[in-house]
């Protein structure tokens, strides 16, 4: 039977004083409006989302432009090409299931969807994709 060896941190100190943050939240910040041609102020929305995630969950990281496509079923299935920026935020199961935090994230997504004239705002929590479309309730 193999021996089990446990590596102890130096100095007998705990390496981590907090629980590990393991729930990944991903927000897609679009480049264009729903028509696929009118640019939005993408950098402003990236900065705003970073501030929101920082305030609510303690931090986030925005990644450079990705290439994306979205099928707009309300416009005859028109394919809208986009170059979204992707914002990643790690949080805890407790914080992501907090009603106040969820309300703030939801409100931000609806505000961005409404003001940036989007058909849908994509938010991934853990392994589930949430398509936010009802912007009127922001």
């Amino acid at each position: 039977m193999a021996k089990t060896r446990e590596r102890k941190p130096r100095g007998g100190q705990k390496v981590l004083s907090h629980g590990r943050q393991r729930v990944l939240v991903v927000l897609f910040v679009p480049r264009d409006e729903r028509d696929g041609t009118t640019p939005i102020d993408q950098q402003r929305w990236v900065d705003s989302s970073l501030e929101m995630f920082g305030r609510v969950f303690g931090g986030a990281t925005a990644y450079p432009k990705a290439k994306g496509i979205w099928r707009d079923d309300e416009r005859g299935g028109a394919l809208v090409k986009d170059e979204p920026m992707v914002v990643h935020c790690y949080t805890t199961p407790g914080d992501i299931q907090d009603d106040g935090n969820l309300s703030e994230v939801g409100s931000f997504c609806r505000k961005m969807g409404s003001e940036a004239r989007q058909g849908e705002i994509g938010l991934v929590v853990g392994d589930e994709y949430f398509a936010i479309r009802n912007f009127g309730e922001g």
Binding site: T4, R5, E6, R7, K8, P9, R10, G11, Q13, V15, L16, R20, Q21, R22, V23, L24, V26, T61, Y63, A66, K67, V86, H88, Y90, P93, I96, Q97, D98, D99, N101, L102, S103, V105, G106, C109, R110, L123, V124, V125, G126, D127, E128, Y129, F130, A131, I132, R133, N134, E137
Partner: protein, 121 residues
Amino acid sequence: MKTQLDMDRIAKGLGVERGGKVTAGGGYFGAMQLLADIEARFRVPSGGGRPTDPGWTERRLLPLAPRTLKRLEEIAAKVREHGGANLEPMQLAALLLEKATEKLSEEDADELTRPKRRASH
């Protein structure tokens, strides 16, 4: 242990209806998730040294095919090029192994231990 989230509660809190599950196995999104994972988890040990995940306290020898090691080296080099952590090939292997193990359900694990049916003659 994988954390169970109450997705109905999250959907209600966000004010949306549930969509569907996503997987981030490969491609740009998978790579970005990997980078984010490294960034969020790797820490410089209190006694100094290379950044690592403090939860990785066990060490084992892992036999590898040369092509697998080469692939790990290539991907780790790309992560370093793109400003990720100073990731070593075997740290990448540990991260990928952890992800694959977490995705394996109890049923999958049971399936592995189930005796194979022999072909009848």
